[in-house]
Amino acid sequence: MSTAARPYALLAEFDNPATVMHAAEKIRDAGYHRWDVHTPFPIHGLDGAMGLRDSKVGWFTFIGGTSGFTLGMLMIWWMGKVDYAIPVGGKPLFSPIFAVPIAYELTILLGAFGTLFGMFFLNRLPKHYHPVLKHPRFRNVTHDKIYVVIENADPKFSDAETRKLLENVGGQHIEVVED
C-alpha cells in the first residue's frame, strides 16, 4: 500500500452475529453516524441494532406500479379507440375490462423495475470502487466474517477512542483502512 494513502476508516472483525449485534447497539448509542456493519448474509434484527429506519424501496415500487397501470390503460385506450379504431363484432373499442390483463402485467413489470432500480439508487450501486474492498482481510466478508467499519469522516471519530470502543465491544484485528 502506498504511504501517501489517507486513512479512511477503522475496521474490526467479528466472528458471530450475536457479538456484532451488541457491538452495533453500543456504537449506535455512542452516537456514531458514518459507520456500517458488513456481513456475509442479512442478520435479522441488525437494522434495529444499528438504528436504521425502515427501507424506502416500497415507494419506488409504488411509483413504478402505478405508472405501469396508467400507461397500460392509456395505451390501449389511445391506440385502440382514438388513433386507429378497428370495429370487430360490435365489441367496444375500449373497455377497462379487456384492458386489465395487459395493464396488470405492465403494473408488475414497471413495479419490478422500480423496485430493483430503487434499491440500486438507495444503495448508490453500482459502485465498483470502495476503500474497504482494497483491504486484504475484507475479502472474508462474503465468506464467513463480519466487519464493523467506522469512518474517519464521522464527527465523533478519534483514532484512540474509536479503537478502544471497537476493542471493548469484542472486535478483533482492528486495522486502518486506507483510501
Binding site: N16, P42, L52, V57, G80, I86, V88, I108
Partner: protein, 478 residues
C-alpha cells in the same frame, strides 16, 4: 481463503423438543464450508461428464435450430398440423415449457412470502430453470406463425409505430399472452439477478484470475455486504417476491385464456385459469426434481439439499397433482351438467375417441402417480422420486396435447374431421428444445453458484443472533 478456523462452537443447547425440526443444512456446516462447497462447483476443474452432457445438449440445440431454419425457409407445411388441427405440437410445447417455469417462481416468490426457509437451497437452480424454460417456451409461438419476421417485427406483437400505422389487437388473449410471457421472462430475470448479487460478490472475492474477478465484480455491482445495503436489498427482495406471486398466477391464467376465451368446446371453460396454474406448478416441480436429484448427488450437495427438501417438494407435487386430478373430474362433470351436447361430445371424444391413448396416458401420469407420494417410503427414495418426476413431466406434456389436439381435430363439420400425425420436424424440434434447455442449464451450473450461498448461510443456526451457535449467551437473554 480461510478454510481453517470457522469459529463454530461445538457445544449446542438443544431447543425444546416441541420446537425441534430437522435442520436445513446437515452436519452443522459452517459459513465457510457453505461458500467453499457451492462456489467450488463453479470454480473447480470442469468434469468430463459436463463436457459429454454439453456435447449432447448442444447437438440437440443445433438440431432444433436446423429444424427451425427448415421450417422458416419452407413453411409450416413441414409440420403435421393443418385444418382443423391448426395448433398441435407447437402450442403444446409452448404451454409445456412455460408451465415448467412456474415452479421456479413459486419456490422463489410464494415460498418466500410464506417464510418457507427450505426454499433457500433450491431457489437459485429453480429460478434458472424458470428462465431457461421461458426461453424455450418463447420460441414456439414465434415460429408457429410461419412468417416469423412478422412476429418479431416491432409493431405486430409489441405496440410500436411502424410503417403500417396499425396497432396490435388488444382485445385478443393472444396479445395478452405476449405481454404476460415477456413480463414473466423479464421479472424472473430481475428477481434472479437480485438474488445473485451477494453471491457474485462471493465469487468475485474468491476469484483467482483477473478476468474472473473483473466479470464477477462487474455484475456484483460493488456489493460489500453493508448492512445499510442489506436493509434495502431485503426489502426489495421481499417486494419482488410480492410482485412475482400475482405475476406467476396471472401468467398461466392468461395462457389458459388463449383457450378459455375462445368458443371451442373443450376449451371454453372457466376452470381453466386455476387448473392451468396448478398444472404448471405440478409440472414445474417435476422438472425441478428431475434436475436437482442428479445434481445433488453428482455435486455431493446432500448436506444442503437434504432428503427433507426432496420430501417437501414431493408433497407439493402431491398437492398440486390432486388439484389437477380434481380439475379433470370437474371438467367432465360440468361437460355433463352444463347440458351442452357439443361440450359433452368433446369430452367423450377425449376419453374414448381416437386419442383415448393420450388421454389415459395423461390420467395415469398425472392423477395416479402423484398419489404414490402419500408414502414416506416413496418420498425418501431418490431413484423413485426421480422416476416419478419424469412421469409427471410426460403426463403434463400429454395434458396440453390432449387439451389442444382432441378439442380441435373434430370440429362442427364431420367431413373435415382429422387425425393429427406429427412429422419428424415436429418431433426433432421438440427434442431439440430440451437440448437448448440443458445447454443453458449446464452453462449456468459451470459459471454461477447453483445454490443461493448467502441465503443458505442465513438459515443456519449460527446465523441467528439468538441461537447459542450464533453466539448468544445461554440463559435466554442475548
Amino acid at each position: 481463503m480461510a478454510h481453517s478456523a470457522h469459529n463454530v462452537p461445538t457445544f449446542v443447547v438443544a431447543p425444546p423438543p416441541e420446537l425441534e425440526r430437522e435442520p436445513l443444512v446437515h452436519n452443522q456446516r459452517s459459513f465457510g464450508w457453505i461458500s467453499d462447497k457451492i462456489a467450488g462447483i463453479a470454480e473447480g476443474k470442469t468434469p468430463t461428464w459436463w463436457w459429454i452432457a454439453l456435447g449432447i445438449s448442444v447437438t440437440g440445440m443445433l438440431m432444433m435450430f436446423g429444424m427451425i431454419a427448415y421450417l422458416i425457409s419452407t413453411g409450416v407445411g413441414v409440420w403435421g398440423l393443418h385444418q382443423p388441427t391448426a395448433w398441435a405440437w407447437d402450442i403444446t410445447n409452448f404451454v409445456f415449457w412455460i408451465g415448467i417455469g412456474h415452479a421456479g417462481t413459486l419456490i422463489s416468490a410464494i415460498l418466500c412470502l410464506l417464510r418457507q426457509r427450505w426454499r433457500t437451497s433450491i431457489n437459485r437452480a429453480a429460478e434458472a430453470m424458470t428462465l431457461f424454460a421461458v426461453v424455450c417456451a418463447g420460441i414456439f409461438p414465434v415460429i408457429h406463425t410461419g412468417r416469423v419476421w412478422y412476429a418479431l417485427m416491432p409493431g405486430f406483437l409489441i405496440p410500436f409505430p411502424n410503417a403500417n400505422v396499425i396497432w396490435p389487437q388488444f382485445r385478443s388473449p393472444l396479445l395478452w399472452d405476449v405481454f404476460a410471457v415477456s413480463t414473466y421472462g423479464t421479472v424472473s430475470l430481475l428477481f434472479w439477478f437480485t438474488g445473485l448479487i451477494p453471491d457474485l460478490a462471493t465469487m468475485r472475492d474468491r476469484a483467482t484470475t483477473k478476468l474472473k474477478k473483473f466479470l464477477y465484480g462487474l455484475f456484483a455491482m460493488g456489493w460489500t455486504g453493508s448492512n445499510r445495503h442489506w436493509s434495502n436489498y431485503e426489502k426489495a427482495y421481499l417486494i419482488l417476491a410480492g410482485l412475482s406471486t400475482p405475476l406467476v398466477l396471472s401468467v398461466h391464467s392468461i395462457v389458459s385464456f388463449d383457450f378459455a376465451v375462445s368458443q371451442v368446446p373443450g376449451w371454453h371453460t372457466t376452470i381453466f385459469p386455476p387448473y392451468f396454474v396448478a398444472g404448471a406448478i405440478f409440472s414445474g416441480f417435476g422438472m425441478v426434481l428431475t434436475l436437482l436429484i442428479p445434481l445433488r448427488s453428482i455435486c455431493k450437495l446432500e448436506d444442503v439439499i437434504t432428503t427433507r427438501h426432496i420430501e417437501l417438494m414431493c408433497k407439493v407435487i402431491l398437492a398440486t397433482g390432486s388439484m389437477v386430478g380434481y380439475a379433470y373430474g370437474m371438467e367432465f362433470f360440468i361437460a355433463w351438467y352444463g347440458g351442452n351436447p357439443y361440450e359433452l361430445y368433446a369430452f367423450e371424444n377425449r376419453a374414448f375417441g381416437p386419442y383415448w391413448w393420450a388421454y389415459w396416458t395423461m390420467i395415469t401420469c398425472n392423477v395416479i402417480s402423484p398419489h404414490l407420494f402419500w408414502f414416506k417410503w416413496s418420498r425418501t427414495r431418490m431413484w423413485f422420486v426421480f422416476l416419478v418426476s419424469i412421469v409427471v413431466n410426460i403426463g403434463m406434456w400429454f395434458e396440453r396435447f390432449v387439451i389442444i389436439v382432441t378439442s380441435l381435430h373434430r370440429d362442427y363439420l364431420p367431413s373435415s374431421w382429422d387425425y393429427f400425425h406429427p412429422t419428424y420436424v415436429d418431433v426433432m424440434t421438440f427434442i431439440g428444445s430440451f437440448g437448448l434447455f440443458c445447454t443453458l442449464f449446464l452453462l449456468f451450473m459451470r459459471f454461477l453458484p447453483i445454490i443461493a450461498i448467502a441465503e443458505v448461510k442465513a438459515v443456519t443456526p449460527q446465523a441467528d443472533p439468538h441461537h447459542p451457535l450464533g453466539g448468544a449467551k445461554l440463559g435466554g437473554a442475548h
